[in-house]
Structures are given as structure tokens and as C-alpha cells.
């Protein structure tokens, strides 16, 4: 399937080249460099030259933006290739090899990684991080420590994590040498047998990104939440976990009654809440039914069980894993309201901004990292700004005013008033022709769920034993693209 993997530095220096087909010429590396890396016009992530096809991605997440390339000679499955490249990327991050400098030292690890992850003929065999690491002779333990929540929940870099130590699933592997492939084909290919931890612990992270696009007249063009439930486990043995959500049990059939907001009050499900889960912090208003438009599960989840009973049942891999992803469109809790009024000033060459920013989440909660980017027309030299709270600066490099808050309390309204100081080249027509990119808002709210999704219970069992484990849950709502046109 994949005939060769090439990794280049951002400037196009070939660092790793591993081919899986003897008849593939080594010169393909030069071809890709010339045709894609050095060619600024190419904007597509896929290129076919002759019968050779290159799929590429750029590694991301605080890395050096390496080029990860897969070369194929036949009509291969693009989904497999891109999925694989992203898995490779996350393995490189795990090993800290996403930095050019270090990759040039330890490129042999990549060779070994690829030997483990890809079978002969470049068929992806295994990409689950904990499994791959188990088979590797080199463990990323030290690096991993520096880089704590890097792999699956890197966006969770909050202080709250400190009290809960990260699962050190890498330590345990000291004993498991490269010969232990026998476990890979047991019932749960993602979980080695006989794991032991002193203390059993589970942390569920409910991470949500809300995306919204508001038109000039305030109508919402689109609004949806992309969420994921990430799991960190340190559980001994082979435990079976299951949990339930407050979804409306009717996937896809958008019964409008569910989305009516008045339905929330009567829905007191707290009796069903597991006492170990700190759900109480969640605002009551958001505990209702949610309509999951769709959800995707990690391979450990029994899809049939979910299909029949809407219960998420699984034997977790040890360590961190993105257990499920979901998508919700209806009945969202919008956390912020932005009301922009932007008018041409009397002189005709400047713009007058009046913006009200109001938080709509409960007063007990607060958001951090609230930043509103307010684009200004080209040719603006400066802005005269007055704000009711927070700090706002004109940033010439971005052509925008940036309004920042360290902490933003719930149910609070702030206003901004600003007028641009245009340069001489600006006149009424250039102002009119300006495309006005949307304002965008960034934020992060703890223990709040944009979608109203709540994990109602979480149980762990192993055989008939009484399984003891500490269970935590954490809700984080962040902004995806929160955009308002004006």
C-alpha cells in the first residue's frame, strides 16, 4: 500500500527515507522536493506524477513543521495513508522526534518505528501508541515526561492536571522485550495482559470545541460543537468500563422537542450520577438531553453495544486514549455573545467600532484566555481604544485590535469603543472594498460544556470482583472558530 515514507526538514532536506519496495527509485525523494517543497504554487496535499502518488502532511503541534510524505505506486487508499501519516506524526511527537535537530540524531528510531507500524508492502499493522511502544526497543519515557500531556490531550495543558500524575505507562514496559508479540492477538489486541498498578485511577476529560459563525444581522449561520472524551487510565487487570451519556437515544432523528430549552428544568438526573464524579459543578441549566449528531469511537469500544443500548462499553488501553469523538448541533449553550456595531466615521476614512461582549455562562464560572481579535482595514496606523475591562491593543502585524482578558466571569458584559486612525492612502472606496474578515474569539471554560453533554455514570468491573478505582471527570469547553461577521 505505502511504498515509501520520506521525512523532510521544513527547508526540504531529506532526513529519513524508508522504502518498502525494491523497485522504487531513490530519486523519488528529489522529485518530491522539486515538485512540491520548492514549488510554492502547489497547494494540494496530494500529487500524482506518472504512476507515483505523493500524499503529504506537515507535522504540527509545536514541532518544526516537518514534511511527512508517503509515496505509492498504485491506486492506494488515501484515507489509510493520511490516517497513517497522522499516526506517525503523533508517534514522532511521543518520541520528541518532531524537532529537526533531534530527528537528525535519532533517525534510527524512526526506522524502527516504521518497522513496527508498517508490515511488508507498507500495510499499516499497528498504530496504537501503547502497543507500538511496547514493541520498541527504545522507550520514550524521559522525553515523555518533559512533554507531559503531549499526545492525545495536549490541549489540556492546565494546572488542574498537576494533582493527578500522568499515567506512566512507559515504565512498565521494561520487562516486555521485543518478543512479547504473543499478547497482540488476544481478545483485546490493544491491551497487554497482567497490568498492575498500585492505585487504580481513571480520568475522563470531556473536551469540547464550539464553532459558530454569526452573520452581520446576528443570525447564526452555523453552530456546532466538536467534542471528544479522552481517557487516562491506570487500571490493573482487564477491567470492563462502561458509561452513559445524557443523549436523547435517537441518533439522527432530530425530534425538535428535544431541543426546546424549557425541557431542561424537569430533567433532574442527579440521582443517577455517580457520586465519584464531580458533576455538581456543572451548571444545572446545561443538564438536559443532547442530540448526538454522530459519534466516533476508539477501536476498544464495543460498537454493537452502543448501537443497541447506547451504552459505551470498553476495555481501555492502558494510558491515554481518545475514546470518542462526537458532534452536536442542537441546543447548544453559547458561552459568549458579541454585538459589534461598526460604522464609518464622519470623515469617511476611519471606522468607529462599538462592541459589546457578554458572557452567557453561569456567574459562578469563569473563562480564561479570552481574546477577541477585531480586524481593522489595511492602512490603519493606530487605533484609539477605550474598554470597560481587560486590555486592548492595536497589533499592526495582524492588522487587528486584540482585546484580552485574563479572567472573564460569567454573566458579565463589557464594552469596547474604538476608532481607527487611517493613513493617507485610505479613503472611502478602499474602506468599502475591504473584505472585513470576521472577528474571532478565543476562550477556555472549565467545568462547562457547550453542548450540555454530561457523563451520567461510569462503572468499572472485572469479573465478579468488586473493583475499586478512583474516578475523575473534567469538562473543558474551548473555542474552535468562534466568528462574527460585521
Amino acid at each position: 500500500m505505502i511504498n515509501g515514507i520520506l521525512i523532510y526538514s521544513p527547508r526540504g532536506e531529506l532526513i529519513v527515507s524508508k522504502l518498502f519496495k525494491g523497485t522504487l527509485k531513490r530519486s523519488i525523494a528529489d522529485i518530491f522536493r522539486i515538485q512540491v517543497i520548492n514549488n510554492l504554487d502547489v497547494r494540494s496535499p496530494i500529487l500524482t506524477l506518472g504512476s507515483t502518488t505523493f500524499h503529504h502532511i506537515r507535522s504540527s503541534k509545536d514541532s518544526d513543521n516537518l514534511w511527512l510524505v508517503a509515496a505509492t505506486r498504485n491506486n492506494a487508499n488515501s484515507a489509510a495513508i493520511w490516517e497513517f501519516l497522522y499516526k506517525l506524526d503523533s508517534m514522532l511527537i511521543e518520541y520528541g522526534l518532531n524537532k529537526e535537530e533531534y530527528l537528525k540524531e535519532e533517525f534510527m528510531i524512526v526506522h524502527e518505528l516504521l518497522d513496527v507500524m508498517l508490515g511488508s508492502c507498507g500495510i499499516p499493522l499497528e498504530t496504537e501508541p501503547s502497543k507500538v511502544i511496547a514493541k520498541m526497543s527504545v522507550k520514550p519515557a524521559k522525553l515523555h515526561h518533559n512533554n507531559t500531556s503531549s499526545l492525545l490531550d495536549g490541549h489540556l495543558g492546565s494546572k488542574g492536571n498537576n494533582e493527578i500524575s500522568m499515567p506512566k505507562f512507559l515504565k512498565r514496559n521494561d520487562s516486555s522485550q521485543s518478543h512479547d508479540s504473543n499478547f497482540s492477538f488476544n481478545d483485546f489486541s490493544w491491551r497487554p495482559k497482567d497490568i498492575k498498578h498500585k492505585k487504580n485511577e481513571v480520568i475522563l476529560h470531556v473536551n469540547e470545541k464550539i464553532n459558530i459563525l454569526v452573520a452581520k444581522d446576528g443570525s447564526i449561520l452555523k453552530a456546532y460543537v466538536d467534542g471528544s472524551i479522552d481517557l487516562q487510565t491506570r487500571l490493573s487487570g482487564t477491567p470492563v468500563c462502561q458509561f452513559g451519556l445524557n443523549d436523547s437515544l435517537t441518533l439522527g432523528s432530530n425530534d425538535s422537542e428535544y431541543s426546546s430549552r424549557n425541557g431542561r428544568t424537569g430533567n433532574n438526573k442527579s440521582s443517577m450520577l455517580d457520586s465519584n464524579l464531580s458533576n455538581k459543578v456543572l451548571s444545572k441549566a446545561s443538564v438536559g438531553n443532547v442530540i448526538l449528531e454522530d459519534c466516533k469511537f476508539h477501536q476498544c469500544v464495543s460498537l454493537d453495544k452502543f448501537d443497541r443500548e447506547r451504552i459505551i462499553k470498553f476495555v481501555p488501553p492502558d494510558g491515554s486514549v481518545e475514546l470518542m469523538k462526537y458532534h452536536i448541533r442542537n441546543n447548544l449553550n453559547l458561552p459568549f455573545k458579541i454585538t459589534p456595531i461598526v460604522t464609518n466615521s464622519v470623515t469617511g476614512d476611519a471606522l468607529d467600532y462599538r462592541i459589546a461582549l457578554k458572557s452567557l455562562f453561569p456567574g459562578r464560572l469563569s473563562a480564561k484566555g479570552v481574546v477577541l481579535h477585531i480586524p481593522v482595514p489595511p492602512g490603519v496606523m493606530d487605533c484609539n481604544i477605550s474598554v470597560s475591562n481587560g486590555t486592548c491593543k492595536f497589533v499592526p502585524a495582524e492588522n487587528a485590535m486584540v482585546w484580552k482578558f485574563n479572567k472573564y466571569n460569567g454573566l458579565t458584559e463589557n464594552t469596547l469603543s474604538a476608532v481607527t486612525v487611517p493613513s493617507k492612502e485610505v479613503n472611502q472606496t478602499t474602506l468599502q472594498q475591504w473584505a472585513r474578515p470576521p472577528m474571532s474569539l478565543d476562550f477556555e471554560i472549565l467545568m462547562f460544556s457547550n453542548s450540555g453533554l454530561v457523563v451520567r455514570y461510569f462503572t468499572i468491573s472485572e469479573g465478579h470482583q468488586n473493583y475499586k478505582a478512583v474516578k475523575w471527570i473534567k469538562y473543558v469547553s474551548k473555542s474552535g472558530s468562534y466568528e462574527v461577521r460585521f
Binding site: 531513490r26 508479540s181 432523528s253 449528531e293 454522530d294 469523538k325 458579541i338 477605550s386 499592526p396
Partner: protein, 691 residues
């Protein structure tokens, strides 16, 4: 020496020196130095320094003998593969070492050796590989990993000796159908057979029995994501359902896989389902919902995967009159930071999804894009509006034209060019509908610059000359620089001038027309254009004198100014191509939406296999809903135009309102840029010294 950088170009001698130095020193410090030296060899192979590195063969062999370390061995094998594919003859010396590894007890080493054997395209290697594979397949090894590697290796070996591999296919088929085997081995065997069939068009299509298929599908829950994907990849067109019940059972089994997070699994499940739908005549509406929502949830994947997904959405939207997918169009609205290839593809999706219900929503959105900073994007949006007008009915066209005219007032150069070009198509589709707007459009004659828009403008003026009193002067304006125009515009000018004459034969039109014809004949070198001019010249000569009653003129009219055929935008693909593309969903060809034979040579063209229940007319598939309750809910949401929510719906009174503090202040850090403006400096100086 060892603190030298590893990643750099070296000469063979330098590395040899490194390696020799190591030998005399102590063991511990030596290991890292030695490894570094060996790594330098791999680096230099990566950098393409082959000729130097080939000289190091003796050193490599020496280390192969004395070292047990896995990384050293890995380097040795990597070296063999690189050198082997460059100079196969040299590697004969290495062969004994590879074979020694192959017979070792270490599984990893065995796999490594096997991969090297099949990698090097030299006859001794290949024959050893065959020997080993044969013995392994006949007397199975305990190691699953090794067996799996061996089975997948057969695809590669097939390149060397197809005849020998064909003999093994029976054994592989046995493995596939034996449920006593490890699932992952079954999948490997299946996938190997599938891949070999793909490569050889002369082999008869792969056939898997219904029973085997159900057995394989029952493995699904226990497979890892890649095995799932590979299984579902091989099934379409290989298994031929014989009854409707088969089809529905299969769909029910694979349906939960749509919930998988790996796009490979989802798309291959989708492919399998779409394939199966060719064998039924009706499906439940809920299936459409599930398919659609599974796609929507994948839209937040990284851009490359999103791109692939969107391309496949286009394919599915094109495939049937009533598509298998139902989306809210807002999913396909372009986001500001989308890469350009996503923006393009989303526009295409919007175009395909448009119908009279969602048109206002889409047009609003497209109008926004038309004023985008990105010129390409803006042009494409305008083009899309124009295409929508042609695609949909005339009410839609009215709305589209309204927006285009509004954008025209904007007056930005490239917007005008594009709008004029698309208006031509709209006017051709609806010749009489927008007569009142023609004058407005013609006002922009001076702004059209590009050949296409100029052509369009010429055509519009010519077509509507009867309602443009001043058309002659406009036309003369456009023709003044005839000789400098690009060829296509010259053709248009020539044609238009003859049409004017044919329509209203007068001395004035004749003069003008003949002038242009003469210019084309005498001054322009292009033979086609001259030929056309000469043709017109003779045509006019034989049509005789000026005068409407002259029968020659009316003949000329029918020749040069006949009735135009109605245009239609045809975005549909050939049904045969569609059939093949559906079977190739999520592959490279699905990105390009082209038949496999156009991109890859020698690949099999996939076809729907025959079956008593095959439905040849793809439009015959009916989407029904059985459940009365659901039906109600759906029709109510469908029937009523969806009210768009507004921000204020979510509003709540604020507990705390902060008031503005003080006056507006500049917030730039450091010295204000304004102060550096010469004009400002001047003013300050003058204030200091008023006199």
C-alpha cells in the same frame, strides 16, 4: 571524532577510520561511537552518497558477524536494502548473513531478514525468499507476526514471479475461509489475494462465498482498526450477494463501523454499503441519515483527510438523482482559515447540494465569498452563483442575477470581469428574462479587460442590439484595438460585426463589417481567423445588395445569426465511470474523480459483478420510511423552511455590566508611528517657531 555531527556528508574513508578507532578502544565507550559511525552510513545513503558507501561493504560484513545488537543489525539490513536495489550483484556476498538471520531464533531478526530478502531485486535473494515462504506456508510457524509478514510479502514476490504465486492463491483462499486461523492472518491472506487480483487484469475477478463473507464480518468487533479497514476494502465486488436478505444482513453487521474514529474504516464501510445498495431496490430513510451523519462527524478531521472526505461526498452526490446523502448546507460553508483546496471542494459541494429550498442560504454565503480578499476564491464564488442560475429554475436565476448585479456595483476589477463572463451563460439560458437589466450591464463595457469577459460582453451587446440604441458606438469602442486583441476576442469581434450587418443591413453596418473583415484578412497572421474572414467576405458578396427585402440577406441571417441551442451545465459523470468510482471510494482516484485507467496503468477496472438481484438502473433505488412516527417528525422539519436562529435567542441578562473607562487612547507601544510621519513633524516644528 565521535563528537562530529552524525547528520552530514562523509567520505567512506572517514567513516572507516571511525570504525577502526573504535575497535582498539574499550568496549563501553566504544559502543556509542561505533553506532554513531554506523548511523553515518545510513545518513549518507539517505543523502544519496551511494558510491562512497558501497566501499564500506567489508566493514558492514565485519560488524554483522560480531554484533548481536538489534540496532546494528537494523543498520546492516537497511544498508543491504539500499545497496541491493542499486547494485544487486554486490549483495551476493551478503546473502549468507541474511540467511543466518532468517534462521535465527529471534522473531524480529527473522522478519527483518525476510523483508530484506524480498526487497533486493536480485535472483539469488528472490529464490531464497521463495524457498523460505514456501516452507513457511506449508509448515506453519508458531509466530503469528512472522506468518503475517510472510503472507503480505507474497504481494511483493508476485512482481518477480507471478506464475509461482498464482499457485499459492488456493492455499491462501483456504486460510481465508478457515475460522480456526487467527483473524489477523485471515485478513492478511484475504488482502494479499485482493492485492494480487488488483494488479492483474487477466485474472478472473476475485470471488468470495457468502458464507465466508459472513464469517469474516463476524470477526469485525475483535479486529484492530487497520484490519477492519483492510477487510472492508477487499469485500466490495468480491462478494456477490444473491438475495435481498443477504444484503440487508451485511449492511446491519457493518453499520456500527460507521462510528469508528479512523476514516479508513468509515469510508470503507461506506464503500461496502454503497456497493451493496446496487443489489436492492429500496432502503429505509434512516440509513440515509446514518450515512450522512457519519460523514458530518468526520469533517473535523485534519484538512487532508477532510479534503478526501469532501471529494468522496461529491462523488456520492453525483452518483444518483436522489443522493444517498442528506446534509444541512451550512456544513459546507467555507471557513476563513480553510486551506484553499478545502475551500474549492466545499464550493463544489455547495453547488451540488443547492436546490430551491436552500438556495437563499447558499446565495447569502456565496455573496460573502465573492467579496473575499482571496481573488481566486472570489472568482470561484461568482462562477458558482452563475452556475447555480443555469442549473436551477428561473426563479432561482432571478435571485442569482440580482446578487450578481449588486456585486457589479461594487466595481472591483476582477469581480466585474467574472460577473460579465457568467452573465453570458445566464442570458443564454434565459434570453428574455433579464432584458431590462441589459443596459445596466453594458455600462461596464470599459471595465472588461480579460479575453473571456470581453468575449462575453461582445456577445451580450450583439445579442441585445435591438434594445441598445447606442450599440454601434459601444461596439466601435470595443473594436478600436482589434489588432492588439487576443485571438479569441478577434473572432468574436469579427462574428459580431457580421451579425450586425445581417440584422440591419445599412451602409454604416456594411462599412464597419467590411472594414473589420479587411483588417482580419490583411493584417492578421492567424490562418483560421483569415479563413473565417474570407468566408464571411464571400458570403456577404453573394448575398447581394443592401435591402431587407433581398432574399440573400435573410439567408445570410439564418446562417450567421441562427437560433442558439439551449445550454445546460453537465456536471454528471458517465455512468460507467461512476460505477467504477463508487467501487474505488476513498482511493486516490476518488480524489481526482477520474477512472482508474486514466491515472494508473495495468490496474483492474472494477465492475459490479452480476447477480440475479443486481439492479442495473441506479435511479431505481427507492428511499422509503416505514415508521409512521419518524416520518411525521421528518416531514415537519422538511416542509417548514428552517428558521435561522439568531444570537439574541441565546441572550441572557448580564449580572454585571462594566462601563467604559475614560477616553479612547492609542495603545501602540513605543514611539508612535504617527510622530515619525514627516507631515506631523513639520507641524510640530512650525508650532515651535510661529514666525
Amino acid at each position: 571524532m565521535s563528537d562530529q555531527r552524525v547528520f552530514a556528508r562523509y567520505r567512506a574513508n572517514e567513516i572507516r577510520l571511525d570504525l577502526q578507532n573504535v575497535d582498539i578502544k574499550k568496549f563501553k565507550s566504544g559502543t556509542t561511537k561505533k553506532k554513531n559511525a554506523l548511523r553515518k552510513i545510513i545518513v549518507n545513503l539517505t543523502l544519496g552518497n551511494y558510491n562512497e558507501m558501497i566501499d564500506l561493504l567489508p566493514e558492514i560484513l565485519k560488524f554483522w558477524q560480531i554484533e548481536d545488537d538489534l540496532e546494528v543489525r537494523r543498520i546492516c539490513h537497511e544498508y543491504t536494502r539500499s545497496v541491493g536495489s542499486m547494485k544487486p550483484k554486490l549483495t551476493d556476498e551478503i546473502l549468507p548473513f541474511v540467511l543466518k538471520d532468517l534462521r535465527s531464533k529471534n522473531e524480529n531478526l527473522q522478519i527483518m531478514a525476510l523483508r530484506t530478502l524480498i526487497f533486493v531485486p536480485s535472483p539469488p535473494f528472490t529464490s531464497e525468499a521463495f524457498k523460505f515462504l514456501m516452507s513457511l506456508i506449508n509448515h506453519r510457524s508458531d509466530s503469528i507476526e512472522l506468518t503475517r509478514t510472510a503472507i503480505y510479502s507474497l504481494v511483493q514476490m508476485d512482481d518477480f514471479d507471478h506464475a509461482r504465486i498464482s499457485g499459492l492463491l488456493e492455499i491462501l483462499l483456504d486460510i481465508v475461509s478457515q475460522s480456526s486461523e487467527e483473524p489477523t492472518i485471515q485478513i492478511a491472506a484475504l488482502n494479499t489475494i485482493y492485492a494480487i487480483h488488483e494488479k492483474h487484469q487477466d485474472m478472473k475477478p476475485l470471488g468470495i462465498s457468502i458464507d465466508t463473507c459472513f464469517n469474516l464480518l463476524s470477526l469485525l468487533p475483535n479486529l484492530n482498526e487497520w484490519d477492519k479497514g483492510l477487510l472492508l476494502e477487499a469485500l466490495p465486488a468480491s462478494v456477490v450477494p444473491q438475495t435481498h436478505d443477504d444484503v440487508f444482513d451485511m449492511i446491519d453487521i457493518v453499520l456500527p463501523q460507521l462510528q469508528h474514529v479512523n476514516m479508513l474504516v468509515v469510508l470503507n464501510t461506506l464503500k461496502f454499503i454503497v456497493y451493496l445498495l446496487n443489489y436492492v431496490d429500496r432502503i429505509n430513510e434512516t440509513l440515509v441519515k446514518r450515512l450522512s451523519s457519519s460523514i458530518v462527524a468526520l469533517l473535523n478531521k485534519p484538512p487532508e483527510l477532510e479534503f478526501l472526505l469532501l471529494r468522496n461526498v461529491i462523488l456520492l452526490l453525483l452518483s444518483r438523482q436522489t443522493p444517498l446523502l442528506e446534509f444541512d448546507v451550512s456544513y459546507f460553508f467555507v471557513e476563513y482559515y480553510d486551506p484553499i483546496y478545502i475551500k474549492d471542494t466545499k464550493l463544489e459541494c455547495l453547488y451540488l447540494l443547492a436546490n430551491s429550498e436552500n438556495l437563499p442560504q447558499i446565495l447569502d454565503e456565496l455573496e460573502q465569498y465573492a467579496t473575499d480578499i482571496d481573488i481566486q476564491m472570489s472568482r470561484k464564488a461568482i462562477r458558482a452563483i452563475g452556475n447555480l442560475a443555469v442549473k436551477l429554475d428561473d426563479n432561482a436565476a432571478t435571485e442569482c442575477v440580482h446578487i450578481l448585479l449588486h456585486l457589479l456595483e461594487f466595481g472591483v476589477d476582477y469581480v466585474v470581469q467574472e460577473i460579465i463572463s457568467v452573465l453570458r451563460n445566464i442570458l443564454r439560458k434565459y434570453p428574455n428574462k433579464f432584458k431590462s437589466n441589459i443596459r445596466e450591464i453594458v455600462e461596464y463595457t470599459d471595465s472588461v479587460q480579460e479575453p473571456e469577459s470581453k468575449n462575453a460582453m461582445l456577445w451580450i451587446i450583439t445579442q441585445y442590439s435591438d434594445i441598445l440604441p447606442n450599440y454601434m458606438s459601444i461596439f466601435q469602442n470595443l473594436t478600436s484595438s482589434l489588432l492588439e486583441e487576443p485571438l479569441e476576442v478577434q473572432f468574436s469581434i469579427l462574428n459580431s460585426s457580421v451579425k450586425f450587418f445581417a440584422r440591419s443591413p445599412s451602409a454604416e453596418t456594411k462599412n464597419q463589417c467590411m472594414g473589420i473583415i479587411q483588417l482580419c484578412i490583411n493584417e492578421i497572421d492567424n490562418p483560421d481567423l483569415r479563413n473565417r474572414a474570407l468566408m464571411y467576405d464571400r458570403l456577404i458578396a453573394v448575398s447581394g445588395n443592401i435591402g431587407v427585402t433581398n432574399p440573400g440577406i435573410s439567408i445570410l441571417q439564418t446562417i450567421v445569426d441562427g437560433k442558439l441551442p439551449v445550454i445546460e451545465l453537465n456536471s454528471k459523470l458517465d455512468p460507467m465511470v461512476l460505477e467504477e468510482l463508487e467501487l474505488n471510494m476513498s482511493s486516490i482516484t476518488s480524489v481526482y474523480l477520474k477512472p482508474t485507467s486514466q491515472i494508473f496503468r495495468g490496474n483492474r477496472t472494477k465492475l459490479l459483478p452480476q447477480s440475479p438481484i443486481l439492479v442495473t438502473d441506479r435511479e431505481a433505488l427507492k428511499i422509503t420510511n416505514y415508521k409512521g412516527l419518524k416520518n411525521k417528525g421528518d416531514s415537519s422539519t422538511k416542509g417548514m423552511p428552517k428558521r435561522t436562529a439568531t444570537m439574541s435567542d441565546y441572550d441572557k441578562p448580564a449580572e454585571k455590566v462594566n462601563q467604559l473607562k475614560g477616553k479612547r487612547k492609542s495603545t501602540l507601544n513605543g514611539p508612535s508611528k504617527l510622530a515619525r510621519k514627516p507631515s506631523m513633524l513639520m507641524r510640530r516644528l512650525s508650532m515651535k517657531n510661529p514666525f
